[in-house]
C-alpha cells in the first residue's frame, strides 16, 4: 500500500471517530447544550482544554521554530505554559464564581456598560481572527502534505473541512470530541519522538534524551546530544543551538505569550464549565499536565530533527562531501510537491551543500571548496514536525498518524475559535445590544453567517500569512495580552476600577498594539501595506511586533488607572459584586443562570 492511501485511511478513521462522538454526544436535550458543561469532571475538562489550546501552532509549528533557532525560541515553551499559572491564580476561579458564558458578558456586567461589552467583543474578534489565520495556514500545510497537493489548495481544503466540521459539530459534544482529538494528537506527537530518542540516545523519554549522550553507532557516539548538535552547527556557520542572543527581548516575548495565554477568550470560557470554584483551580492544573506532555517533548523533537537534518545533508560529516542529489531521501521529493521544501544545485556538482551563506567565515570556506551558496534553498519550518517521522525513517503508519494528529490539533482549535467569534457576534453584539428582539432562529442564522465570514477572512489572509503558524499565533497573544487580560484582572482585583477606565484602557491597549503590528506587518495583515519594513533596525527600542503585548498591557493599565481616578467610582452594587466574586461560596447558585 502506498503512503498516500495509508494517510487517507488513518486520517479518515480519525474523522470517523470525531463524527461518531459528535453524533453520540448529541443525544441530549437542548438544556444540556449549556448545562452539560457545568458537570464536567476537572480531569476531563483539563484534557478538553488541552486539545482546545494545543493548536496547529503547538503541534506543527513550534518544534520547527525551536529546531531552527534553538535556545532563543524557548520563549514558546515557557510562554505557552507559564500563562496557565497566571490563569489559575488570577482569573479562572473568580470568573467561574461569576458564572457567565462569554468573556464580553463578564466585562459588560462587571463594568455595568454596554460600550465596554462592545469594545470587548471587538477585542475578542481581532484576537480570534488573528489566531485562526495561524490555524488555517497550519492545517493547509498538513492537508497539502497528506493529499500531496499544492499548499494553497491544501488551505482551501482545510477551510472547507473546518467549515463543515464547525457548523455540523457546533457546541454539541465538543468537549468529548476534543478528548478524542487530544488522544490522537498526543499519541501522534510522542510516538515518533520516542522512536527518534531511542535511535539517537537510547533513552525512551525524549525530554531526558535531549540531555543524554549519543548512543553507539551515531555521529557523535558517547558525547552529549546537544554538544554534537552545537558542533555541527558551528562548523557550518550557524549560531550555536544552546546560545541566546538578546535576553531582554526573549523575556519580553515570553511575557507577551504568558499574559496573552491568560487573556485568550476561548480558553477562559473552558473554566466556566466545571461545577465548583475549587474544581476550576484543579482543572487549570490538569490542563497543564496534558499540555506539558507535548511541551516537554517538543524541545527534544526540535533538537533531534535538526540533528537528523544535518546528518542527512552531510552523511560523511562536515569535512567530507555533501549529500549527492540523487541520494537525497524520498521525503525531499514528496515535500517538494508542496513547494515548502526546495533544493537547487547552484554549483552544478551534483551535491547539495547546506550551510549558512551569510556567515563570513563560511563564505571563505565556500570559495575554497567551490560552493556557490546554500543549496537547501527552502525549508519551511512548519513542515518539520510533519516530516519528522520520514526524516528519521520511521514506518509508514507513523507518518500517517502524524498527519492525523496535525489535522486534529488544527481542527479542534479552529472550531473552538470560530464558535467564540460567532457567539460573540450573535450573543453579545446582536442579541444583547443591536436587536434584543431577535428570534432564536435569527440568532442561530447570525452565528452561522458570522462563522462563514470569519473562515473566509482567515483563509484569504492565510494564503499570505504574516509568519509561520506559531509566529502568526504569537501576534494574537500580543493582542490578548494588551486588551482583555488587564481588564479582566482589574475587574477582580480592583474594586475602584470603573466603566470609563476599563473601556478606555481596553481601547488604548488594543489600538497601540494593532498600530504597532500593522506598521510592520501591513494594515490588517494585508501584504504590501506596511509603513515600515519589518526589520530589527526599524523597531521602536528594538522591540519586535510579536513582543509588543506587555507594552500594550502597560498602556491599558496606565490609561485605565488615570481615567478611573478622574471619573466617579463604580456604584455600590458593583463593589458588592466584586466582593462576592472573590469568595468561592455560592458558585453553585450561579449554575442556574
Amino acid at each position: 500500500m502506498d503512503q498516500t492511501t495509508l494517510n487517507i485511511i488513518v486520517v479518515g478513521l480519525s474523522f470517523a471517530l470525531y463524527f461518531g462522538i459528535a453524533i453520540w454526544a448529541r443525544a441530549g436535550s437542548t438544556s444540556e447544550f449549556y448545562a452539560a458543561g457545568r458537570g464536567v469532571n476537572p480531569v476531563v475538562n483539563g484534557m478538553a482544554t488541552a486539545a482546545d489550546w494545543m493548536s496547529a501552532a503547538s503541534f506543527i509549528s513550534m518544534a520547527g521554530l525551536i529546531a531552527f533557532v534553538g535556545y532563543n525560541n524557548s520563549s514558546f515553551l515557557m510562554g505557552w505554559t507559564g500563562g496557565y499559572v497566571l490563569m489559575a491564580l488570577l482569573l479562572a476561579p473568580y470568573l467561574r464564581k461569576f458564572g457567565k458564558f462569554t468573556v464580553p458578558e463578564f466585562i459588560g456586567d462587571r463594568y455595568y456598560s454596554t460600550t465596554a461589552r462592545i469594545v470587548a467583543v471587538v477585542c475578542l474578534i481581532v484576537i480570534s481572527i488573528t489566531y485562526v489565520i495561524g490555524q488555517m495556514s497550519g492545517a493547509g500545510v498538513a492537508f497539502a502534505r497528506f493529499l500531496e497537493v499544492d499548499r494553497d489548495l491544501g488551505l482551501y481544503i482545510a477551510a472547507g473541512v473546518v467549515l463543515v466540521y464547525a457548523v455540523l459539530g457546533g457546541m454539541k459534544g465538543i468537549t468529548y470530541t476534543q478528548v478524542a482529538q487530544y488522544c490522537v494528537l498526543i499519541v501522534a506527537y510522542t510516538i515518533p519522538a520516542i522512536f527518534i530518542s531511542l535511535q539517537l540516545t537510547g533513552n525512551p523519554i525524549p525530554g531526558l534524551g535531549l540531555f543524554s549522550n549519543m548512543s553507539e553507532g551515531t555521529a557523535g557516539a558517547g558525547q552529549p546530544l546537544l554538544v554534537t548538535l552545537d558542533g555541527l552547527l558551528t562548523d557550518l556557520g550557524f549560531n550555536q543551538y544552546t546560545e541566546g542572543t538578546s535576553p531582554v527581548n526573549m523575556a519580553l516575548f515570553t511575557l507577551s505569550l504568558m499574559i496573552g495565554t491568560a487573556g485568550l477568550p476561548h480558553v477562559i470560557i473552558r473554566f466556566f464549565t466545571v461545577p465548583k470554584v475549587a474544581d476550576a483551580r484543579w482543572s487549570a492544573g490538569w490542563a497543564l499536565v496534558f499540555i506539558a506532555l507535548l511541551y516537554l517533548t517538543a524541545p527534544a523533537v526540535g533538537a533531534m530533527a535538526r540533528l537528523n537534518i544535518m546528518t542527512t545533508m552531510w552523511p560523511q560529516g562536515v569535512e567530507g562531501e555533501a549529500v549527492a542529489q540523487e541520494d537525497l531521501p524520498d521525503w525531499f521529493e514528496t515535500w517538494s510537491v508542496t513547494g515548502l521544501l526546495a533544493v537547487e544545485d547552484k554549483n552544478g556538482d551534483g551535491r547539495i551543500q547546506y550551510y549558512n551563506e551569510n556567515s563570513e567565515e563560511m563564505q571563505a570556506l565556500a570559495a575554497e571548496r567551490g560552493w556557490e551558496g546554500n543549496e537547501l534553498v527552502t525549508f519551511n519550518r512548519d513542515i518539520l514536525v510533519l516530516a519528522n517521522p520520514e526524516i528519521a525513517q520511521l514506518p509508514g503508519w507513523v507518518i500517517a498518524l502524524i498527519a492525523a494528529g496535525g489535522i486534529a490539533a488544527a481542527l479542534s482549535t479552529a472550531a473552538g475559535l470560530l464558535l467564540a467569534i460567532s457567539s460573540a457576534i450573535s450573543h453579545d453584539l446582536i442579541k444583547s445590544t443591536l436587536n434584543p428582539n431577535i428570534s432564536e432562529k435569527g440568532e442561530l442564522l447570525a452565528a452561522r453567517i458570522s462563522m462563514i465570514g470569519a473562515i473566509a477572512v482567515a483563509t484569504w489572509l492565510g494564503l499570505n500569512p504574516p509568519g509561520f503558524a506559531a509566529q502568526t499565533v504569537a501576534l494574537a497573544f500580543g493582542l490578548a495580552a494588551a486588551s482583555l487580560f488587564p481588564t479582566l484582572m482589574m475587574g477582580i482585583f480592583s474594586k475602584r476600577m470603573n466603566s470609563a477606565g476599563a473601556t478606555w484602557g481596553m481601547l488604548a491597549g488594543l489600538l497601540t498594539t494593532c498600530l504597532y503590528l500593522f506598521t510592520y506587518l501591513g494594515w490588517f495583515f494585508i501584504p504590501g501595506t506596511n509603513m515600515l519594513e519589518n526589520t530589527a533596525s526599524n523597531y521602536l527600542f528594538g522591540i519586535p511586533p510579536a513582543s509588543f503585548g506587555p507594552i500594550g498591557a502597560v498602556a491599558n493599565f496606565a490609561v485605565a488607572y488615570i481615567v478611573s481616578k478622574m471619573t466617579a467610582e463604580p456604584p455600590q452594587e458593583i463593589q458588592e459584586l466584586v466582593e462576592s466574586i472573590r469568595v468561592p461560596r455560592g458558585a453553585g447558585a450561579a449554575t442556574g443562570h
Binding site: 515553551l77 515557557m78 499559572v85 554538544v227 544552546t242 475549587a278 506539558a292 469568595v583 468561592p584
Partner: protein, 85 residues
C-alpha cells in the same frame, strides 16, 4: 453583601499566597532560564547549562507544581475561613 470581617483576612491570605507563587513563577522562567542564566552557567546539565534546562524543561515542571500547590493550599484556606462550597 455586608462585608464580613473574616473575608478581609481571607482575601489577604489569598493575595499573600498568589504573591509567593508568582515570585517563584518569575524566578524560574525570567530568572533562571533567561536573565540569570549567565550566573548559573557553571552548573552543567547534559552537555549544556542549568539555564538551558530550565528554559526547555525545568520551568514547565515548576509551573505544574505551582498550580497544584496553589489549588491544594487555597482550597484549605477556603475551609479555614469557612467560605468553601
Amino acid at each position: 453583601m455586608a462585608e464580613q470581617p473574616n473575608n478581609n483576612a481571607y482575601w489577604s491570605a489569598n493575595i499573600r499566597l498568589v504573591t509567593y507563587c508568582l515570585v517563584i513563577w518569575a524566578l524560574v522562567s525570567y530568572g533562571f532560564a533567561i536573565l540569570l542564566r549567565p550566573m548559573l552557567s557553571g552548573i552543567s546539565v547534559g552537555g549544556t547549562d542549568l539555564g538551558f534546562w530550565f528554559a526547555q524543561q525545568g520551568s514547565i515542571l515548576v509551573f505544574l507544581v505551582l498550580i497544584f500547590f496553589y489549588a491544594w493550599r487555597m482550597n484549605k484556606i477556603d475551609r479555614e475561613h469557612g467560605v468553601d462550597e
